[in-house]
């Protein structure tokens, strides 16, 4: 599966479960596994908290 953000190969472990967060090693985008049926996996963008630089 490709990362929807940067198109890098997204590494999803075989034993990953629904609700688990996977992260793209290139761009760091986080995805939540929303559905898993055998080898078919669906992901959705995970909610992240933006960094506050305090400025």
């Amino acid at each position: 599966m490709k990362c929807p953000e940067c198109d890098a190969d997204l590494n999803i472990p075989e034993d990953a479960a629904v609700g688990e967060i996977v992260s793209c090693s290139d761009c760091g985008a986080d995805y939540e596994i929303s559905k898993k049926d055998g080898s078919t996996v669906e992901i959705k963008e995970a909610e992240t908290v933006g960094e506050d630089w305090g400025e």
Binding site: E5, C6, D7, C27, G28, E51
Partner: protein, 350 residues
């Protein structure tokens, strides 16, 4: 392979020696200095204590030609013109770290350096030492001129954008920050600790000399004359460069397309890392995470409201910006593994 370093007492020369002393294919046989003849190398570069018993000698062209297969010249701008020519005429392979053979057009020396080049015929013999741009030419070169530290850092980030005709070539602004070692070991009142510590000094907001190199290389890629606006700043770090390259898009592009463009250009390059991470400490290139390495880290961000694409690049000015590039070029010229002696992970924290 036996190598000599002319001007080994400066920061750049010292860094070349540091790398070569651990290089599996190189043997440092001679180091020269005008000020420290007879002195042990480690007295000037204390970090090299225990690695060599070499002493500085005077520059003797015949002796160096007899004892070395390749020579690095790391002398101040303007003084390498004669030295490089003398070695070239003796058939030596040379890697020059000064600016004296970087520019192809002799008129550019008058424009950017304020002096006339004494050997304009030799400028065409020199290959601009950026492997990502000129690897094939470097392989067979007798003379390679290493680029300016800010020039190479900026050019690498901009080059894929020009090559893919993505940006307005009339409006490119390079904002650079550079550490104190970029000023060299000579020193002026402005480089003393009291004046340098804590500084964020715009030291040449217009007409910096490295502009000429960036324009030369980008123009070559574009096939037309490109003008660049550059403003460097001295900041309070010892090593490191950050170039924030502001460009304006000619056509719409999204982040995924930019990843594709940069990956296509640099995906196989050993010393380029693409940095644009939504997580962790290191979201965009930052010189703090390249210190001691030969990497040039490149990233980008989009400002759609202003049609602006910001290409960011970071390097260690003494490594990728000087000695690391030089040794990488030596490896290529000599048929060695390109990564030998320079594939270090960066030193952190520093």
């Amino acid at each position: 392979m036996k190598v000599g370093i002319v001007g080994a007492s400066g920061y750049v020369g010292g860094e070349v020696v540091r790398l070569l002393l651990s290089h599996p294919e190189a043997e440092v046989s001679m180091v020269t200095s005008t000020k420290h003849v007879g002195e042990y190398l480690h007295r000037i570069h204390p970090s090299l204590k225990g690695f060599t018993e070499l002493t500085f000698s005077e520059l003797d062209y015949d002796k160096m030609s007899d004892n070395c297969d390749l020579v690095f010249t790391a002398v101040p701008h303007g003084t390498a013109t004669e030295i490089v020519k003398a070695f070239y005429d003796r058939g030596m392979k040379i890697i020059d770290l000064s600016a004296d053979y970087r520019l192809h057009n002799a008129d550019d020396y008058t424009k950017w350096y304020g002096w006339e080049h004494p050997h304009p015929d030799y400028l065409s013999k020199s290959i601009f030492g950026v492997p990502e741009l000129h690897r094939d030419k470097i392989k067979n070169a007798q003379l390679v001129s290493c680029p300016g530290c800010m020039a190479v850092t900026s050019t690498l980030a901009l080059y894929p954008l020009i090559k893919n005709d993505l940006i307005d070539t009339d409006h490119i602004v390079v904002d650079s920050k550079i550490g104190s070692s970029g000023a060299g070991a000579g020193g002026t009142s402005g480089t003393q600790h009291a004046m340098r510590a804590g500084v964020i000094r715009p030291y040449k907001p217009a007409k910096h000399r490295h502009t000429g190199e960036i324009e030369q290389e980008l123009s070559e890629i574009a096939g037309k004359k490109i003008k660049v606006s550059m403003s460097p700043h001295a900041v309070d770090v010892v090593r490191g460069i950050l170039c924030t390259n502001h460009t304006f898009l000619k056509k719409e592009v999204d982040e995924k397309e930019l990843w594709k463009i940069y990956r296509a250009e640099f995906g196989e390059e050993p010393f380029i890392r693409l940095i644009r991470d939504k997580n962790g400490l290191y979201k965009f290139p930052d010189p703090k995470f390249v210190v001691g390495s030969n990497f040039c880290d490149i990233g980008f961000d989009l400002d759609e409201d202003n049609n602006r694409l910001i290409a960011l690049s970071a390097s260690d000015n003494l490594m990728r910006g000087a000695a690391g590039s030089a040794v990488q070029n030596m490896n290529i010229m000599s048929g060695f593994d390109e990564k030998q002696g320079i594939m270090y992970s960066p030193l952190t924290p520093v």
